[in-house]
Symmetry: C2
Subunit: 338 residues, 2 copies
DNA sequence: GTCGTTGTCACAATCGATTGCGGTCGAGCA
DNA sequence: TGCTCGACCGCAATCGATTGTGACAACGAC
């Protein structure tokens, strides 16, 4: 614990604690004689004074702590976001508390309220579901909240994500340019904005190319390899022909490839497939995965900055929707239609 | 913020705040009439009372916050550790604050002292270097600290890690059993315990098999693909023959394979290689990586429990060294020596 | 009937820093 | 000389909870 207290610094400098506080506080420093400031600062340094954040927070109701709520940190999608946010936050003197909800809304609710009790100054939330009562509550409260990666249907909160529409369109365009016409979309869960919006974008892109949309979207229960595998199994059983797949994310693509490979379908000879997010190691696979690269670290960083803005001036507009540019990285899993 | 305060609960229940506090606090609850406890508890529920952790912490100097210090969260090694720790901690009513030091000791020092100012109850540190003045300081202070994954030369602190010795021995045994005799070790940096101890274990295992050790250990500057690639380049340039590599971790293995592949060396036909840690997707590579599986989630969980023990009873022995069992997962990158 | 005990609870101090308000002192001006 | 004004700093309240100490009543024992 910060053993030395403000009183001791004050005593060492021969002033009242109040004066010491002001001298140490850039905001109130000009109410104090520069020479006194010098003395106090020197004393503080000499004693190794570190202010007690709890006491300060208690008094000022500012804790310089921001909470980051993540569904599952072991999903490689999130660490870069965490890192981006952490760097911006700690650069601004903020501390990051992380909570992993394990995809459990009840757990999440408890953790968020516990964080509020801890007096965090704001939240970055990466667990938004399409219908999310918790977010509605938060939106009504005064706490600054920024959504990242996923957004919610109606909560009026700022959001920072990737340009999903463009990502999907790029994928479809790429496949169509290679002559594919029977394209299937493995959609993420409908209770996530990414699942819904990527599916919508897929349908729009298909229509623009004059391609049939009917029953070419398969919804997956979750963003996981298992769900992708299950979807691929459904595709095989249905017997419906296809030459290309636009997967809702990399994990779904991986799961599908596993099943299709076991069924004797070779990629990219027999079918093409694209992913989304470009997780680490995707370029190391055989064949390396063609996928949409999303600037995840930036996403975290921008979300953090947005949060800091809000915390800084609480009256600013608080519903900016930031879409970060994405890019299609063409690698080995896509090729000409046969 | 927890809008409703203890005073209001007390007023609603018709008692003094002190009594309300005791009624709400399991430890002191038996100093209060059960009927009164009932009234207070009910009032608290009705008003949705959430205690202000800052105020409580200020008074009790317990914050129920633990800090986890990580060198780089985007390294897939760490998320499982984080997750394991988070689950144990939050299960015990603790909050996890995460700090990513970006492998920068100065940054780390600042962050740790900032955390101390925040009054965290303890640290789990995954950034230990072999010579680590910061850890020596911490060991001398009263703060509970647990080292995870890496340990320090002399800091007398509890440690939770994998059984590196056994992991390396299993790898060497496996390779020798396949007839390999020219085996090279790509060692991690010597300022990490894992780097040193795996190298030591490698030498010991080689000696036991009566194999030459001289100049068969190449130290890498960091645990990264680049460093692995650089090491492989050195190996090629040296012209020294080898048929197998024991890499200090998976990333080194990946980097080496890239360079060796580009040089026309096929795996596992021309050479065998093993990794360490079994990061996600390692089984998805072609060929899938033979590697040592370390129970990372458990590691985080055990570290957290160790920390909680220490926090719970500060007088307990505080230098337990826990080595979690590891396992060699034989996949496609190892085969018979040619 | 008085005294001591026990059970309940109220009072007030405390944790460490911040901040509104007011006091002091010297300079400047009439 | 006397008065005002501003710069500088001290006093004390405050944030919200915890906790040592003591008040008070009921009760049993002598």
């Amino acid at each position: 614990m910060g053993r030395v207290r403000l009183v001791e610094v004050a005593r060492a400098a021969g002033v009242h604690p109040a004066t010491a506080s002001r001298a140490l506080n850039p905001g109130a420093r000009d109410e104090v004689n520069p020479r006194t400031v010098q003395r106090v600062v020197r004393a503080a340094e000499q004693l190794g004074y570190v202010p007690n954040t709890l006491a300060r927070g208690l008094r000022t109701s500012r804790s310089f702590v921001a909470a980051l709520v993540i569904p599952d940190i072991t999903n490689s999608l999130f660490p870069p976001i965490v890192r981006g946010a952490e760097q911006v936050l700690s650069g601004a003197g903020f501390t990051l508390v992380l909570t992993d909800t394990n995809n459990d809304p009840d757990l999440e609710r408890g953790q968020v309220s516990s964080m509020r009790a801890h007096g965090v100054d704001g939240f970055i939330i990466a667990t938004a579901r399409w219908q999310d009562p918790l977010l509605d509550e938060l939106a009504k409260s005064a706490v600054p909240v920024v959504l990242v990666n996923r957004r919610s249907a109606d909560a009026a909160l700022p959001f920072v994500g990737g340009d999903d529409q463009r990502g999907v369109r790029l994928s479809v365009d790429h496949l169509v340019a290679h002559g594919h016409r029977s394209i299937v979309h493995l959609a993420g869960p409908a209770d996530t904005s990414t699942g819904r919006e990527r599916a919508t974008a897929f349908r729009a892109a298909m229509r623009e190319h004059g391609l049939p949309v009917r029953s070419s979207v398969i919804e997956c229960a979750s963003y996981s390899e298992q769900a992708g595998a299950a979807a691929a199994q459904r595709m095989l059983r249905s017997g419906r022909p296809f030459t290309a797949i636009v997967a809702g994310n990399d994990l779904l693509a991986l799961g599908a490839m596993e099943v299709l490979g076991a069924a004797g379908r070779r990629c990219p000879e027999d079918y093409s497939i694209t992913g989304f997010n470009d997780l680490p190691f995707m370029r190391k696979l055989t064949p390396p995965l063609t996928t949409v690269q999303v600037p995840l670290t930036d996403m975290g960083a921008v979300a953090a900055r947005t949060l800091l803005d809000w915390i800084g001036k609480p009256d600013s507009v608080r519903t900016t929707q930031t879409l970060l540019p994405v890019e299609l990285v063409v690698r080995g899993t896509t090729g000409p239609a046969t």
